[in-house]
Amino acid sequence: MQGYSRKVIDHFRNPRNVGEIKEPNGIGRVGNPLCGDVMVLYLKIEKGVIVDIRFKTFGCCAAIATSSMITELVKGKTIDEALKISNQAVTDALGGLPSIKRHCSVLGEQALRAAIRDYHKKATDGIQDDERLNKMKKNKHYKNQYAAQNKKSLNKSIKNQRDSI
């Protein structure tokens, strides 16, 4: 099937962890600007551990398979561990993807990061603006994501985030 591995086909046929979580404490919704696909990821985090994870995806075989695989890889992991999972790791776990389908694998990683970001945002809810900003700035998970970026853009991201809250 167009160079899809067995693993990909398996996850496409029988995707794991499909659906929604009733009361999630983190939701990540991302779209793939390249072909217009959408993924939503729901997290239930307890004491820093991802105890439940579900997804819904509108996309191709590769997008569905990566969505399914990332939920398997992440379930039961701590937030720290989860954030270390890259789209390359997901692709590898699937036995690779055809080169034209590589872009589909970013959907999973991005949705996971967005969901964790959402979790942190929710966790700081109810705190005054400045205080929240400080807390977010100090938060290592939040920082981790922007580690590669410089301080200025970190501040900008936080500001954007605050504006969108």
Partner: protein
């Protein structure tokens, strides 16, 4: 596993009678038609017989048919050949936004060479308005190229009217008839066309062979230079078995066309009605009546086409989609976008094309499977909001 083929617009299986006719041209009658000895003459006879069948099928003269390697070559030959040979007459070409890639890409190439190209818009059904053609013509217009029937959505263009306008204005008119050839009546004098492309493998003939009809008296530049085959218009040793097979396929199509059209139209409508009535949030793409008898193109809301096609394939059903996810450019079908479909609906498009060996019960089976698959994919789609 039971396998059902619903991709006859992509290609068709060769009819066994065609194979039978062809096979002796590989072994016994293998000569080069350009040789003057017995073997050559026998092969030449096969070619000329084929030419005769095809020319009489379209009401043309024998030397108005040039055999090519297929639809893409015929389209390239028509466009570039006419434009290059008539540079003194002008530099403008008119075509539509929903042509096949083998028209669109040569047009883009010609644009890079300084030719002006107008891509006419189509209405929501995919129809070109002949009045738009008329308005687009300038005194620099050399050629109009509008397809007879569209490969994706099956819409049939008003070729006759466009041809009449072209003739009135003294502009050459080419039609890409690859998808309709052998399925719709194709008399060139009635259609008012000056050039017409066809391909053999769309009508149960062999792959790698096609033809371009060129009305007598046209100025056209050849781009295969070498031997003097086809009166010097296309050099290259004849693909004898292919051409013979093409002729046989046209002969069969000529005899079966009427019955086949009736049968396919009713199967087509059964499939369309079945989908629209039994699966919510679906729509038909293309025109409800002015469409090829074998073409079904629908959009299924909130699901992506590649996932649909692969799921259907796993159940033994072969069809295609205009989804961005299956194209290397990651853009949805230009035809569906030209109809005004949102990218999301183009994403969820499915094309079923029926043919000579399609059975009634295959339609029932497909409707069943499709509904199941759509439900499954919708249950995991973040875009899906069920009614009520």
């Amino acid at each position: 596993m039971r396998r059902i083929y619903f991709d006859y617009a992509a290609t068709t299986p060769i009819d066994l009678e065609v194979i039978k006719t062809m096979s002796q041209y590989y072994t016994k009658t293998f000569g080069n038609p350009s040789s003057i000895h017995y073997f050559g003459r026998k092969a030449l006879y096969g070619i000329e017989k084929s030419r005769q069948i095809i020319s009489s099928f379209i009401n043309a003269e024998l030397d108005e048919i040039v055999f090519t390697s297929g639809g893409t070559e015929s389209n390239n030959y028509a466009l570039k050949g006419i434009i290059y040979a008539n540079r003194n007459r002008g530099n403008h070409l008119i075509t539509s936004a929903i042509e096949h890639h083998s028209i669109i890409e040569p047009c883009k190439y010609l644009q890079r060479q300084g030719i002006k190209v107008t891509y006419l818009k189509v209405d929501k059904y995919g129809l070109v308005d002949p009045q738009d053609v008329k308005k687009a013509i300038t005194n620099k217009t050399v050629l109009i190229s509008i397809m007879y029937a569209n490969n994706e959505i099956g819409v049939i263009q008003p070729i006759k009217e466009i041809g009449r306008i072209a003739r009135d204005k003294g502009v050459y008119f080419h039609t890409d008839a690859v998808q309709s050839f052998g399925h719709l009546p194709t008399a060139v004098d009635e259609l008012n066309v000056d050039l017409l492309s066809a391909s053999s493998h769309k009508l149960y003939g062999p792959k790698g062979v096609g033809m371009l009809y060129i009305r007598k008296g046209m100025r056209i530049m050849s781009f295969m230079h070498g031997g003097d085959q086809e009166n010097g218009r296309r050099a290259s040793t004849y693909n004898v078995p292919g051409i013979v097979g093409f002729g046989k396929a046209v002969e069969l199509a000529r005899d079966k066309m009427g019955d086949e059209r009736r049968k396919l139209t009713s199967l087509r409508d059964k499939l369309i009605d079945g989908i629209l009535n039994n699966i919510e949030q679906t729509r038909l793409n293309g025109h409800p009546f002015t469409r090829l008898p074998n073409n079904v193109n629908v959009s299924v809301g909130s699901v992506e086409g590649e996932a649909l096609v692969l799921n259907l394939d796993m159940e033994g059903i072969a069809c295609s989609t205009g989804s961005a996810c299956t194209s290397s450019s990651l853009e949805p079908s230009h035809v569906l976008l030209a109809l005004g479909l949102s990218p999301e609906l183009a994403h969820g498009s499915l094309r079923f094309t029926l043919g000579r060996y399609t059975k009634d019960e295959e339609i029932d089976y497909t409707l069943d499977v499709l509904r199941r698959i759509v439900n499954k994919l919708r249950s995991m789609s973040p875009l899906y909001k069920g009614r009520g």
